[in-house]
Amino acid sequence: AQTVTQSQPEMSVQEAETVTLSCTYDTSESDYYLFWYKQPPSRQMILVIRQEAYKQQNATENRFSVNFQKAAKSFSLKISDSQLGDAAMYFCALYRPNAGKSTFGDGTTLTVKP
C-alpha cells in the first residue's frame, strides 16, 4: 500500500522561530513527487513546496525548505522565521505518475504564537 504518514497532529512555534513538520511515505516506485500544501482556515489548498524524487538537492522556497531523505523515505518541512500567517494545516502529499494520483497525509495543524 502507498501511504503518507504525518506523525504530528499538532505543532506550535513561537513567532520568528523555526519549526519542522515531519512526513514519511511508502512507495516501491522510483518515479514520484512529493509536495507540501498549506490549508488556512479559509480551506484553500495552497502549494508550499515541491520535490522531485530524482533530485538529490533539497527544494527551497524562501522561508520554506525540505529535508528529503530518499533512503529513509522521509520528507520534512522546515519553516524558518515563522510568521503569524503561517498558522494553518499542512499536508504532505505523494504523487505517483504510474497511478496518476496523489495520496495525502492526515495533516499537521501548526499554531504560531505571538
Partner: protein
C-alpha cells in the same frame, strides 16, 4: 481568471435531495480530480479523469456520479444525499509531465441537514 473554479461554494440541502457541483479549469490541464475533505480534515481522492476518461474511482458510492463533458470541466452529481455526505469537496487539476502539481479549487462546502 481563477485557475480552478467550482460552484457553488456553499450548499445547504436536505437529506434525500440531489445536488450538483460544477468545476472548470482554465490551465489547459488534461487531468481533473474530485477530493473529499471530511470533518476531521482528512483529504481523500474520489475520482480522477484524464481527457474526459474516468481513470480513478476510489470505491465511492454509486450515488456520486462525475461527468466530464470536456477536459476543462468535471462536474459532480450526488443523488439521495445523506448526512455523511456533509464535507468540503475539492475539484483539482494537474498536467502530467509538467511538475504534476495539483491545483485546487476553493472547495464547495456541502451541509446535509
Amino acid at each position: 481568471d481563477t485557475a480552478v473554479s467550482q460552484t457553488p461554494k456553499y450548499l445547504v440541502t436536505q437529506m434525500g435531495n440531489d445536488k450538483s457541483i460544477k468545476c472548470e479549469q482554465n490551465l489547459g490541464h488534461d487531468t481533473m480530480y474530485w477530493y473529499k475533505q471530511d470533518s476531521k480534515k482528512f483529504l481523500k481522492i474520489m475520482f480522477s479523469y484524464n481527457n474526459k476518461e474516468l481513470i480513478i474511482n476510489e470505491t465511492v458510492p454509486n450515488r456520486f456520479s462525475p461527468k466530464s463533458p470536456d477536459k476543462a470541466h468535471l462536474n459532480l452529481h450526488i443523488n439521495s444525499l445523506e448526512l455523511g455526505d456533509s464535507a468540503v469537496y475539492f475539484c483539482a487539476s494537474s498536467q502530467k509531465g509538467s511538475g504534476n502539481t495539483i491545483y485546487f479549487g476553493e472547495g464547495s462546502w456541502l451541509t446535509v441537514v
